[in-house]
């Protein structure tokens, strides 16, 4: 099957080359048959890549260790769920996932737009196939997922324990979907710039794909944050790590784009800005992929240095130079049709919001790449670390939240005093009430940025609530519907607008959670024996008893903790640290368990107001002599077994591994029966749950805005059923009119 998989990749490369030539030739000659043929090449690519990916997944699910990638990232004992996800834990598999998703999304957009944008589409097809060529080439020439070995190992290395987390099933596909979806508007923008068709058509064609990219990328980022919070054992959800930033930058740029295109659609303004934004978003998406794979920046994610850096640098350089060249070439046609009437208008607020988002991207880009910039300028790498982000990102985030509340309230073109009074009185009053209440509560005023964020968050939520209330009231006045029905109808009839409002409210909730959890967190690093306790933020956390488990796969040491407040029991938590054996055969048979991967299981009580987060870090010093002694005993026994005849040696080694498992079990038993002090990290964080709730609200808003209009499925159903009726005119947007 590996041969078939490899053949699919090579065939895919050929299809890409043909599709590019057919599309460009068709565009140059005005030949629709060639253009259609180029588009169908994308469908063929999707079919071929689907088959290749299915072959790889099947190899993982069957634990076919003749595949190098399976032997390196899975094993026969890996649970089935993680076998499926292990496919994209490897460089090779993740590249194949990238190109597979790209081919699927490309097929979808080209199918949906097959009767529209006949001039732009061939160039967009060529660009999309250009990306596919690049990533397929990587899998063919640099990172072949179908490489096999004639002498497979008896067992695979297994999936990295840190990746054994439910969100890892969805986090990479979500991120890659976001990245690949961003190439769709990028490709159509290139097509629009080449053909000079720079009106709103290319935006209407691809807006939904930009929104989907924003949604998937956002979900991917949040799943990564959740994984970090519950899996990495440091108590945080965001570390400003280069790889985290690599996903955040295109998301922020895309956020700016999906707002600013509304101004182009309504007023014919910001054409050059919109084209530049989506070209930047697409380039940042590829930059993000590059950062994950090149290892050029030190990252907690550590993606070892690979040979893929140079091809990616060439691609990114081509994207940047090509984008800048096209924008400069078309600068005359990109002039706005109209001008900004007033700085107090919705379009001005959108513009300010865009500037804030772009400033955030710039800040993150600069600080992330500063070690490389400083090395190029001074010869020394200089790191600035996470604290450098805060002085810039925190004020920008505050302005962003303010604008996300102002935007829905302010009128297009020019605001009037009456508009201001009517729309702003209640939200501003709510924010002021929040301010007064929080000042009376005490303690909050010591954190002015958090205080401002709470007030602005209230302003946004109330302003969004007010808009919904007015919409429902207006609808009921004409239809006399009940409130729930009026609410649903209101949202259904203007999904884009109200989906956006919901997303704004979600952003406010999320950032309130971030402000509270980062400003009012209490943490305590403490060493405890069973029976001892520590106090954190009014909670008493007592080490009740040790727990342990031992298998051939890992040994775990942990603790049961009792959490109480004011003498009242709150929760019982269990936290463990698992030690997985190293794959290095030169290490001792017992000792390799403590030289491999480690994985924390966090003891967590998540609540609406507070999270109680605990993790144990066992001290291994007391068992080190026993481990060394065990290694010596097993070494001698293994050497003795090696001198026996093969059949006896095999039997002896089997016995030795049984004895090894017993030794590991004895270590676990020692931890339980004769426990020694252990280090604990105890954290009480307020409103962390609000971050996940806010993210879910944003996602719901995004899905509502993304959902196709009612006319779309009805029209399609009518076509499928063959019913007669007025044919949809060629210009009726199938995708866009929301």
């Amino acid at each position: 099957m590996a041969l078939v998989g490899r053949a699919m990749l090579i065939l895919g490369l050929g299809i890409c080359a043909y599709g590019i030539i057919a599309s460009l030739y068709g565009a140059a000659q005005g030949g629709p048959r060639w253009v259609d043929s180029g588009r169908r090449a994308v469908y063929a690519l999707a079919a071929v890549m689907t088959l290749a990916f299915v072959i790889l997944e099947a190899a993982f699910l069957r634990s076919d260790l003749t595949f190098n990638v399976v032997a390196g990232h899975s094993s026969t004992t890996t649970p089935t769920f993680y076998k499926a996800t292990a496919a994209w834990s490897s460089q090779e598999g993740s590249l194949l996932l990238w190109v597979w998703l790209l081919s699927l999304w490309s097929s979808l957009v080209l199918f949906l737009t097959r009767r529209r944008a006949r001039e732009i589409a061939p160039y967009a097809t060529a660009v999309l196939l250009g990306f596919a060529t690049f990533f397929t080439s990587l899998t063919v020439f640099f990172a072949n997922p179908f490489a096999t070995t004639a002498n497979p190992p008896s067992e695979g290395a297994g999936l990295n324990p840190l990746l054994r987390h439910a969100s890892m099933m969805f986090h990479p596909p979500m991120l890659y979907s976001g990245y690949t979806l961003l190439t769709v508007p990028f490709a159509f923008a290139i097509g629009a710039l080449i053909t000079g068709r720079l009106g709103a058509e290319w935006i209407q064609l691809t807006r939904r794909f930009a929104l989907a990219a924003w949604l998937f990328l956002g979900i991917g980022i949040l799943l990564g944050a959740r994984w970090s919070y519950t899996e990495l054992g440091w108590g945080g959800y965001w570390a400003w790590d280069p790889v985290e930033n690599a996903a955040l930058m295109p998301w922020l740029a895309c956020t700016a784009f999906i707002h600013s295109i509304m101004i182009q659609e309504k007023r014919g303004m910001l054409k050059v800005w919109n084209a530049s934004l989506i070209l930047a978003s697409g380039t940042l998406a590829v930059l993000g992929t590059f950062l994950v794979r090149s290892g050029i920046l030190d990252s907690i994610h550590a993606f070892g240095a690979s040979t893929l850096g140079v091809p990616f640098v060439i691609l990114i350089a081509a994207m940047v130079l090509g984008s800048v060249g096209l924008i400069v070439w078309r600068r005359a046609e990109l002039r706005s049709d109209s001008q900004l009437d007033s700085l107090l208008s919705r379009e001005a607020v959108f513009l300010f919001q865009n500037l804030v988002l772009v400033a955030m991207v710039f800040v993150i880009f600069w600080i992330t790449f500063f070690p490389l910039i400083s090395e190029a300028l001074t010869g020394t790498k200089v790191s600035v670390g996470p604290p450098a982000f805060r002085p810039f990102i925190v004020p920008l985030a505050l302005v962003l939240v303010l604008l996300s509340g102002v935007g829905p309230l302010i009128a297009w073109r020019r605001v009037t005093a009456a508009n201001l009074r009517r729309n702003f009185t209640l939200p501003v009053a709510s924010a002021l009430v929040t301010l007064v209440v929080l000042l009376l509560v005490g303690g909050v005023s010591e954190r002015p940025f958090a205080l401002i964020m709470f007030c602005l968050g209230t302003f946004v939520v109330v302003s969004v609530g007010q808009e919904f209330w007015r919409g429902v009231r207006a609808r009921r006045a004409t239809t006399h519907d009940a409130v729930p029905r009026a609410f649903v109808q209101l949202v259904r009839r203007n999904r884009r607008r109200y989906g956006g409002y919901i997303a704004h409210a979600g952003l406010a909730v999320l950032l309130i959670g971030v402000a509270a959890s980062s400003s009012f967190q209490h943490s305590h690093d403490v060493i405890l024996r069973p029976g001892q306790h520590a106090s954190v933020d009014g909670y008493t956390i007592r080490y009740v008893r040790p727990v342990a488990s031992a298998t051939a796969e890992k040994i775990s040491f942990g603790a049961v903790l009792d959490v109480s407040k004011g003498g009242r029991h709150v929760q019982t938590l269990t936290t463990t640290r698992g030690f997985y054996p190293a794959q290095d055969p030169t290490l001792g048979v017992v000792g390799r368990f403590f030289n491999g991967e480690e994985e924390s299981q966090v003891g967590l009580r998540a609540g609406l107001t507070k999270d109680i987060w605990t993790v144990i870090s066992p001290d291994l010093t007391p068992i080190q002599p026993l481990v060394n002694q065990g290694d010596q005993v097993f070494l001698k026994a293994m050497q003795a077994a090696a001198s026996l005849p093969p059949a006896q040696a095999r039997a002896q080694i089997t016995n030795l591994f049984t004895a090894r498992d017993a030794a590991i079990g004895a270590l676990a038993e020692r931890w339980v029966k004769h426990p020694w002090p252990s280090e604990f990290l105890l954290i009480i964080s307020p409103l962390v749950t609000w971050i996940w709730l806010g993210a879910m609200i944003i996602a719901i808003g995004g899905v509502i805005a993304l959902w196709p209009p009612r006319a779309f499925p009805r029209r399609r159903a009518a076509r499928v059923a063959g019913t007669t009726g007025p044919p949809a005119p060629a210009e009726v947007p199938e995708l866009a009119k929301v």
Partner: protein, 135 residues
């Protein structure tokens, strides 16, 4: 006001704001940044009292009470420095793993002390096949 004059004023204000932001960013980066050194660079350049970010690969580790003692090696020159560290040890920390830790020199015997909770560790690479076979 003349619309073109209005546009010019807006552009000037926007560019001034962008320039101020960029200047603040550059100033902060250079003033708040710390040199990221390899083990051999650290041995050559370290001045007691000044802190540096040490980058390299862990070649040994052991616990001593609540402190973690480990050696960080320069991947090119095979020189290593000892670090005594207290604080959160990330899950991925292990021998053979790349780390970043903020350190300062203590005393004259080239003993480096890691600042609390400054240790970050490269995750076991998702994209590097493990060397190994079965255990």
């Amino acid at each position: 006001m003349d619309p073109s004059r209005k546009r010019a004023i807006r552009l000037t204000v926007a560019l001034t704001a962008a320039l101020l932001l960029a200047s603040a960013l550059v100033y902060t980066s250079f003033s708040a940044g710390r040199d990221e050194l390899t083990a051999s660079q650290l041995l050559k350049q370290a001045v007691p009292g000044k802190s540096y970010i040490l980058a390299g690969t862990v070649i040994s580790q052991q616990r001593e009470g609540d402190a973690l003692l480990f050696r960080v090696r320069d991947p090119k020159l095979h020189m290593s420095v000892p670090v005594r560290y207290t604080g959160i040890v990330p899950d991925p920390f292990a021998v053979g793993r790349g780390v970043l830790v903020t350190v300062h020199e203590q005393g004259a015997n080239t003993q480096f002390v890691g600042e609390q909770d400054s240790l970050t560790t490269k995750c076991p690479s998702k994209y590097q096949a493990a060397a190994g076979s079965s255990y």
